[in-house]
């Protein structure tokens, strides 16, 4: 069983991490102070309860003072009510503080993530990043709420009880406290054992989950290889280990709770025995005896709570370490010191001796140069792995090039403000990504400057409006995760509408290769025409129609530009393009001709 990175627990306290964590409480400083103060009051009011019993018994009942008894009862009653109210308020307040703090941290991490460079996302699996924003932060909640404030409450409770006991009777206080070390020790040993047992249980749960997951995914293999019975036997082992781990943890609980009771009964026995002598000697009253019987019961809750804090701290430290590591990441695309705002670009694009590699010197692009004049279209073609898609990533600075220059309107893109640059470039990717939500928000991506009218007009221009109108809810119709209910063609058209709505001067289009039905195909071809109109465009082309309409074709092969020219020129040349043409584009001749 491999332990996941996220499962490793370390120490329960780390000064550096703690200082950093506490900083997040700063905005809520006063709330924390109020919560601590009020929790002390609760602790105090809780611990005086036996004191009232003593007064009721010794001062009122023993002396036959029924009026006094009523007063004591009423006083006790009001303490009870006050305590209840304050306790409610404190509990709510501490949870509020915890939630508010983790809300802040969550948004900070999320914001941090939004501005990481794409390189960062290549290195970090999305699943893990999601865990940071979700689970890891949830764990901190316990620390910020019960972890910090309630520690004070527990400690004060213990102090309060001890103080009241000693003020009533020294000897009896000592007797009651005599078992305290044992109780402390027992509780902490139990916590440790229970924690370890719990960890084992979780490990076994993970094993069961892995097994079930794997054997559901691999059910086909199980069935086709007649392995059901053997797999079943194997599962019995894993499932049995899970059961045994649980049974072991039951053992600790079964042992611990009666043990606490027994320790408590020893104190009761001692108190009774001692008070008998005390009462005879006149140093102890019945009320004191009753009060101590109650003190004895009240002790162990704060002790148990304190021992739980260890767990909370341990997990919080492990999570915060991972969170801070993420927050310390520096992978971003740097904005130039004096960023230039070129406004709405004229649309001139130039690659000048561009070299690029994702890793070290593993060149994906080698010395690539070309120029696209405003309003012109260039088609890039090439076999798989030629480096076509990489060009898209470079133009809007998703990655930084190692050598050479990329210019827009004759300005190096490194000097253009990042937002300005990206606002000028529209990108249509091969795999259309739709967000869950509605159609409208997928077209304007939540940009309120793009009105509903523009959204609708864009959809109409690419010929997808009819489809959208047919949806339940029209433009406000539901889009499932990744647009699951839409066809590939519909998704593409929506992404075209998106680009059109943003109306960029420069367009980069990575045509999808997946086949669609003829009707959709003709819709797409028409839409592409609309898209390219009056724009500078760079198309990674898979459609013959698109290629033929381009002003120039660039043929890439293994990271280099090998051929360039018009369709006719390149065909006559009988080079790489000619081969590609025969391989990919030739059969598309017919639909283009009928247009």
């Amino acid at each position: 069983m491999t332990m996941q990175d996220d499962e490793i627990l370390g120490k329960a306290y780390d000064g550096k991490l703690m200082v950093r964590l506490i900083k997040y409480l700063k905005p809520y400083k006063w709330y924390v102070i109020v919560a601590v103060f009020l929790s002390m009051i609760v602790a105090l009011l809780e611990s005086v309860r036996p004191f009232f019993t003593k007064i009721a018994v010794d001062e009122n009942i023993a002396k036959g003072d029924s009026e006094g008894l009523l007063n004591t009862t009423l006083l006790f009653g009001s303490v009870l009510i006050i305590r209840g109210l304050v306790q409610f308020f404190v509990a709510y307040l501490t949870l509020w503080i915890g939630q508010k703090t983790i809300l802040d941290i969550r948004i900070e991490i999320y914001r941090h993530l939004q501005y990481r460079g794409l390189k960062f996302f290549d290195k970090n699996p999305i699943g893990r990043l999601v865990t940071r924003v979700t689970n890891d932060i949830e764990v901190l909640n316990d620390m910020f709420s019960s972890g910090i404030v309630m520690v004070f409450s527990d400690v004060f409770m213990i102090i309060g009880i001890v103080w009241l006991m000693f003020s009533m009777n020294w000897n009896m206080a000592l007797i009651t406290l005599s078992v305290l070390p044992l109780l402390f020790y027992g509780t902490f040993v139990f916590r440790k054992k229970a924690r370890e047992a719990y960890r084992q249980v979780r490990l076994q749960v993970a094993r069961i989950n892995t097994f079930i997951q794997e054997h559901i995914s691999g059910m086909l293999v199980d069935q086709i290889f007649n392995r059901e019975k053997k797999s079943y036997k194997k599962f019995i082992d894993i499932n049995g280990a899970h059961r045994d781990a649980n049974i072991k943890s039951i053992f600790y609980y079964a042992l611990f709770y009666p043990a606490v009771d027994i320790i408590g009964s020893v104190v009761i026995g001692l108190i009774i025995w001692y008070s008998a002598g005390g009462i005879l000697a006149g140093t102890v009253t019945i009320g004191t005896l009753m009060a101590f019987l109650q003190f004895n019961e009240m002790f162990w809750r704060p002790i148990r709570d304190l021992s739980e804090k260890y767990n909370i701290m341990q997990t919080a430290m492990a999570s915060s370490e991972r969170i801070f590591k993420l927050l310390d990441d520096k992978t971003i695309i740097h904005e130039s010191k004096n960023p230039i705002d070129i406004g709405k670009s004229k649309g001139k694009v130039e690659f000048r001796n561009v070299w690029f590699a994702y890793n070290d010197e593993d060149w994906i692009l080698k010395n690539v140069s070309f120029t696209i004049n405003p309003g012109k279209a260039i088609a890039i073609v090439g076999h798989t792995g030629a480096g076509k898609t990489t060009i898209i990533n470079l133009l809007n600075r998703m990655y930084e090039i190692q050598k050479g220059e990329i210019l827009i309107d004759d300005v190096n893109i490194k000097n253009i403000s990042l937002d300005n640059l990206r606002n000028n470039i529209g990108i249509v990717m091969q795999d259309v990504f739709l967000f869950s939500g509605d159609v409208k928000s997928n077209i304007n991506l939540g940009n309120e400057n793009i009105s509903e009218e523009v959204v609708k007009k864009s959809a109409e221009m690419v010929g997808v409006k009819k489809f959208i109108d047919s949806l339940n809810g029209g433009f406000y119709g539901e889009v499932k995760e990744r647009g699951a209910t839409f066809s590939v063609g519909q998704k593409q058209l929506i992404s075209f509408a998106r680009t059109l709505a943003f109306n960029p001067q420069i367009l980069v289009l990575d045509e999808a290769t997946s086949s669609v039905d003829t009707e959709t195909e003709s819709l797409i071809q028409k839409a592409i025409l609309k898209l390219l109109q009056n724009r500078t465009s760079l198309v990674i082309a898979h459609r013959l129609s698109t290629i033929q309409r381009a002003d120039k074709i660039i043929v890439m092969h293994k990271g280099e530009i090998r051929e360039s020219g018009t369709h006719k020129e390149l065909i006559l040349n009988e080079g790489i393009y000619y081969k590609l043409y025969k391989l990919q584009y030739k059969e598309q001749e017919v639909p283009v001709l009928t247009q």
Partner: protein, 587 residues
């Protein structure tokens, strides 16, 4: 609640343990319930102090001893209760989960295609866990509470009728509060969880679509959106927090008021000499003993409700009958398969689909021959071969193996004789040797080495430090696509099957290696039937017979040479692959 009756047979299996456990709860309650009585007696004794000092002290000593030893006995019994009832609940959980898996194993392939794995996982963990809660705490606490209630109440009533009634006034409210608060905690938790999963989904989507976000400069919008979702989640949390914060103060107030009433009215009775101070002390202790049963009662109702809901969800799965299994047609005398396959007007339609995926296929594959299938993605190639081991049952026509309807063959016999290499390679995270030995009874080292050689995986395995004992997926050892496919081939051929089916499982293997595999296979599969699906002409060109599938029907058929002459789909595909090869080789 009815669904819980399903558990009765499970409970019966552990009858004796459960009965012992219940017996010990009852006994434990008897022992602990007399404790306040002793304390009360002791207090009274002290209050009416006589001159006989030593005698009182001795008596007190014995009270102390009694209290400690009774607590001790009750503790031992309580220990025993947990060790029987709670442990039994874990045993039943174990049985339930085993049965659940065994049941899943009988479900046909189509069931798993329709049902998200996550759902099944949730049933196997959460639902079974909720049912387990019914069996453990759901049995122990009600009995414990009931016993505690009966014993404490009878002692209390015996001491003072009127005081008991007064003290009891607020207590049913405790049960009610726990029940109501518990229920609304449950519903609020679900709301909170939903809000949390929305948050998670958005983060997941945002990060998956981060390129779009960046390209369109939508970072700020995305942050705002996430902030809104986080705020909603915050609100849901606080709604839950309100109820949770309310719970304990409310409980303490109710319990406290009960104590208060007892002290006041009990105190008056003591003043009026109707009651001794010791009885009052005992009374207060009983009261404290009643609190827990009251809390448990409200809690248990929630456990039962949730458990019942989970059980009915589980039942829906368990009651599902498998469509593909041995049946009336099955002829159990058949023990062997020769390897002749014949499709007679075979059509197949997926459940709920309105068109045939496989259309009227007529095809005879003689024993010992090799059939190759080519065709576009979605043309029905995989579906066609999936019909042979009955992963799906045909909807029309007849599928014959050795001239017999495939349904006559016992499922185990049929599948034992088929070596299947599925399109999506699936290996278990076990050692390579365990994966290869997957379908065989006898694990012979020679067979392992031989089949690994044929499938060309042995060269790769030799390079791993632990050779065949390398655990797949552990410590960064991940197999490449081609290595996985070759392991999967080894797994199929080690069975020495009469029918070998390779469903496009050479796609990630380079052409040279592929050539070697095919060459070796030809020797091994002599006299046996092979079916190979591929996109590559190089894979299929030497087959005895080739069919081209299009939209579920046979479009072209013949040998490689025959098909080239037709100049149809096949020859077109061939031409393209030659071109592609040229481009690959271009420097």
């Amino acid at each position: 609640m009815k669904s819980l009756s399903y558990l009765i047979p499970y409970l019966k299996k552990y009858r004796s343990q459960l009965l012992w456990g219940i017996g010990s709860i009852i006994l434990a309650n008897i022992f602990s319930v007399v404790l306040p009585h002793f304390i009360g007696k002791a207090v009274d004794k002290m209050n009416t102090i006589s001159q006989n000092n030593q005698e009182v002290l001795n008596e007190m000593f014995w009270y102390a001893v009694l209290i400690i030893s009774f607590t001790f006995i009750a503790g031992v019994l309580l220990y025993y209760t947990r060790q029987t009832i709670i442990v039994t609940s874990r045993h039943i959980e174990f049985d339930l989960r085993n049965d659940f898996l065994e049941h899943l194993q009988k479900q046909p392939y189509s069931y798993f295609q329709k049902t998200p794995t996550g759902d099944l996982m949730a049933h196997a963990t959460n639902d079974i866990n909720a049912v387990r809660n019914v069996l453990g705490p759901g049995i122990m606490y009600p009995i414990d509470s009931l016993m505690g209630l009966i014993f404490s109440l009878s002692f209390m009533f015996a001491k003072s009728w009127s005081l008991t009634l007064i003290a009891l006034i607020p207590l049913p409210l405790v049960s009610y509060v726990v029940y109501r608060v518990g229920r609304s905690i449950h519903t609020k938790s679900i709301e909170k969880q939903e809000s949390y999963s929305k948050l998670t989904t958005r983060a997941q989507e945002n990060l998956s679509g981060i390129r779009i976000v960046k390209s369109y400069v939508r970072e700020k919008y995305e942050i705002d959106l996430f902030e809104k979702l986080s705020q909603t989640y915050f609100k849901k949390n606080m709604q839950l927090a309100k109820i949770q914060s309310l719970m304990w103060p409310l409980m303490f107030m109710l319990v406290g008021s009960s104590i208060l009433l007892t002290i006041y009215f009990g105190g008056l009775s003591v003043i009026n000499k109707e009651l001794t101070i010791g009885t009052l002390t005992a009374f207060l202790s009983y009261l404290v003993m009643l609190i827990w049963p009251m809390i448990a009662l409200g809690w248990v109702i929630n456990i039962l409700q949730q458990g019942a809901a989970s059980m009915s969800r589980l039942q829906k799965i368990i009651d599902r009958k498998s469509e593909i299994s041995n049946n009336d047609l099955t002829n159990y005398t058949i023990k062997e398969v020769e390897g002749e396959i014949e499709f007679k007007n075979v059509s197949f339609k997926h459940d709920g689909s309105n068109f045939d995926t496989i259309k009227n296929i007529n095809l005879k594959i003689p024993k010992g021959s090799t059939l190759a299938i080519v065709g576009k993605t979605g043309s029905g190639k995989s579906t066609l071969v999936n019909l042979i081991p009955r992963l799906y049952d045909i909807t029309d026509g007849e599928l014959l193996i050795d001239g017999k309807n495939v349904k006559q063959l016992p499922l185990e016999v049929l599948r034992t004789q088929i070596g299947f290499v599925p399109q999506e390679t699936f290996l278990f995270s076990e050692t390579i040797s365990e994966n290869i030995f997957y379908g065989v009874e006898e694990k012979k080292e020679d067979d392992l080495i031989e089949s690994a050689k044929i499938s060309q995986i042995s060269v790769d395995v030799e390079e791993f430090p632990k050779k065949f004992e390398t655990v797949i997926g552990e410590r960064g050892i991940t197999l490449s696509g081609g290595q996985k496919q070759r392991t999967s081939i080894a797994r199929a051929i080690i069975k020495t099957p009469k029918i070998l089916i390779i469903d496009d499982a050479l796609s990630a293997v380079d052409t040279d290696t592929e050539d070697k595999i095919l060459h070796q296979l030809r020797a091994v599969m002599k006299g046996r039937t092979s079916i190979i699906i591929s996109h590559r002409i190089s894979t299929v060109k030497d087959a005895d017979y080739i069919i081209v599938l299009e939209n579920g029907a046979i479009a072209e058929k013949g040998t490689h040479d025959e098909l080239l002459i037709i100049k149809g789909i096949y020859s077109d595909l061939y031409g393209k692959q030659l071109l592609e090869q040229e481009l690959e080789e271009l420097k």
